[in-house]
Symmetry: C2
DNA sequence: CTGAAAGCGCTAACAT
DNA sequence: ATGTTAGCGCTTTCAG
């Protein structure tokens, strides 16, 4: 089966290939008659332009490349688990690519490479993507950003630390979400609230912690040192941190963990100590991972609209989808998901 | 920044472009001197071949397309959750593509389309992928398979219902895994075991159920009708099914659910009835989703090596990676993951 | 408004 | 063992 080309369409329609190209690209100055003839032929032949020919000849490659961290990916691969964040991100990107007849390519970026700049440059040369979707931690990688800027490749950064660099940035207000979650806990009557932060070198950790402290301060609630513990975003660190907080003589009546995996760990630590959530301790997380829905009790958490962020980023990268009022940096709304792990303070 | 082409490399090395091409493609009859000169120039320029030019001129596109079900994807997108299965699958494919300098493209296939055959044909015409990775339920879609065969596109089916069609098939022995899990339960002393199956129209459901029944029969254990309930793979159906089984006058001492989400539901149903797992009832699942690790108690389950299956499939599709002994159908080993939700029958 | 010709950066036949 | 010459299927000039 030899593929149908633009020549076949032109021949069937009885016009030149340029005319076919014009119709296909919605170029101006095309008569309705021509349009009809061409469209009929295209339909009849089931013709579709070749991606590679289009990319080679034209300016755009109709390709969106998602840059994903190789190290993280390999870690997931080894653990035999998927990456929920990435998966959601991809769904969002995919939905938009489809609308505009673009294609999504996933590329692993190895930050450990000592030839990173060259690697990325070469990759861009090989792919010539119409746009690049940067996922954390690529969103903040100076060398990757530098190459992107140097080559003039449009890019969108998902959840970047800061929105200083060029390119688009799409993020949510991490700090405010944490603050709001803390307010929720305070609103339930909790005064003594424990906080488990993520590793300090993650910007998200710092932002979430800042939100917690701001809310406590706003209500004149002291934050004792013993109530602040640092985890590393893993379930195990949540178990450890939760155990420590709940082992306190004057234990907190609520614990806010900086992500769901740790909150789930807190839940387990509580169970191990014979404490019931939310009766004995309210527990809140952050991320809304699938597991948060299935824990006992289901976890109150913050939902980060990853798919929506990716969709928006993709729209910004595809000229045909780009909104008129496209601004460099956009903040998408998050959502507090209140489930059974948090409850009013027992009298 | 204008991209560096094969001409630049040839000029710098003082050879013809064909020689550069030869070296790059590892073609025979190339002197070491030439090789060195070219490689030096390539390195110096940071040259990388253009994907589109290569695809257009050559036979292969160096592209692996993963066909993903659009409907399922949209469902996930709406629910705001990722797809663990797909995510793991992608990781595996990505790791192999990277080794061979291939690229992974993700394509949504809309089974609902009444022009499905044309859509797929056109997509293949546009992409000319070197190989297609079929994920369930695409793995068994007759029309998709037909187009693939008609166009002569190499393809690999992940977890297909049957391995009759052409192309490669990579799967695990669902039936045997279920049988083995049942044996595990029986080995723990359980005799009265409840089973929650998936929807009958899924081949995996039937296979898992078959394995359960085989194990019970092998041990001369009767399977009462009241102990078999049908779910639909959702958490809610697990809650319902678990509630029904545990509400029985003579309730089972163990329950085997056909997937983790349902097993998690059983866990919740048990908790709601004041029953503790595994003391009062052992619970086993299937899939090893991330949530299985975080439930209380952590879930005993079957791990399906999705990433490994995808990696193998990808290797079969990439000539340079294809093993000598490549057989049409391969079965990858699964693993029983024994965690705290199953325990010996209390005396 | 439409068409002819010239590439895009490669690989594939053919030389030599 | 190396070089020359055509295309691959499109988009872009540039003409008419």
């Amino acid at each position: 089966m030899t593929a149908v080309t633009i020549y076949d369409v032109a021949a069937l329609a009885g016009v030149s290939i340029k005319s076919v190209s014009r119709v296909l690209n919605d170029e101006p100055n095309v008569s309705q008659t021509l349009k009809d003839k061409v469209q009929k032929a295209v339909h009849q032949l089931g013709y579709r332009r070749s991606l590679s020919a289009r990319s080679l000849a034209g300016a755009s490659s109709y390709l969106i490349a998602a840059f994903v961290d190789a190290e993280l990916t390999i870690e997931h691969w080894k653990s035999g688990r998927g990456n929920d964040y990435l998966s959601r991100l991809e769904l969002g990107a995919l939905m938009e690519c489809r609308r505009a007849d673009y294609h999504l390519m996933v590329e692993l970026i190895d930050h450990g490479s000592d030839t990173l700049e060259r690697d990325v440059t070469a990759l861009l040369a090989a792919l010539k993507p119409a746009g690049v979707l940067l996922t954390p931690p690529n969103s903040d990688h100076p060398q990757v950003l530098a190459v992107l800027e140097r080559t003039g490749t449009p890019f969108a950064r998902i959840g970047p630390e800061a929105t200083s660099a060029r390119g688009f940035s799409i993020s949510m207000d991490e700090r405010q979400a944490a603050q709001e979650m803390t307010e929720h806990l305070i609103g339930l009557g909790h005064r003594r609230i424990g906080f488990i932060s993520g590793p300090a070198n993650y910007s998200a950790s710092r932002k979430r912690r800042g939100g917690f402290e701001a809310a406590m301060a706003a209500h004149d609630l002291p934050v004792a040192d013993e109530l602040m513990v640092e985890g590393d975003f893993t379930f195990e660190s949540g178990v450890a941190g939760g155990g420590r907080l709940l082992g306190l003589d004057d234990r907190p009546t609520a614990i806010f963990a900086s992500n769901d995996d740790m909150a789930l760990g807190v839940l387990q630590a509580a169970a191990a100590l014979g404490l019931k959530a939310p009766d004995d301790v309210s527990v809140a997380g952050y991320d809304d991972t699938p597991s948060a829905l299935f824990s006992t009790p289901p976890l109150t958490t913050v939902r980060q609209p990853v798919a929506e962020m990716a969709a928006r980023a993709t729209r910004l990268l595809i000229p045909a989808l780009k909104p008129e009022d496209a601004s460099e940096a956009s903040i998408v709304p998050y959502e507090l998901i209140l489930r059974a792990s948090t409850a009013p303070l027992a009298a």
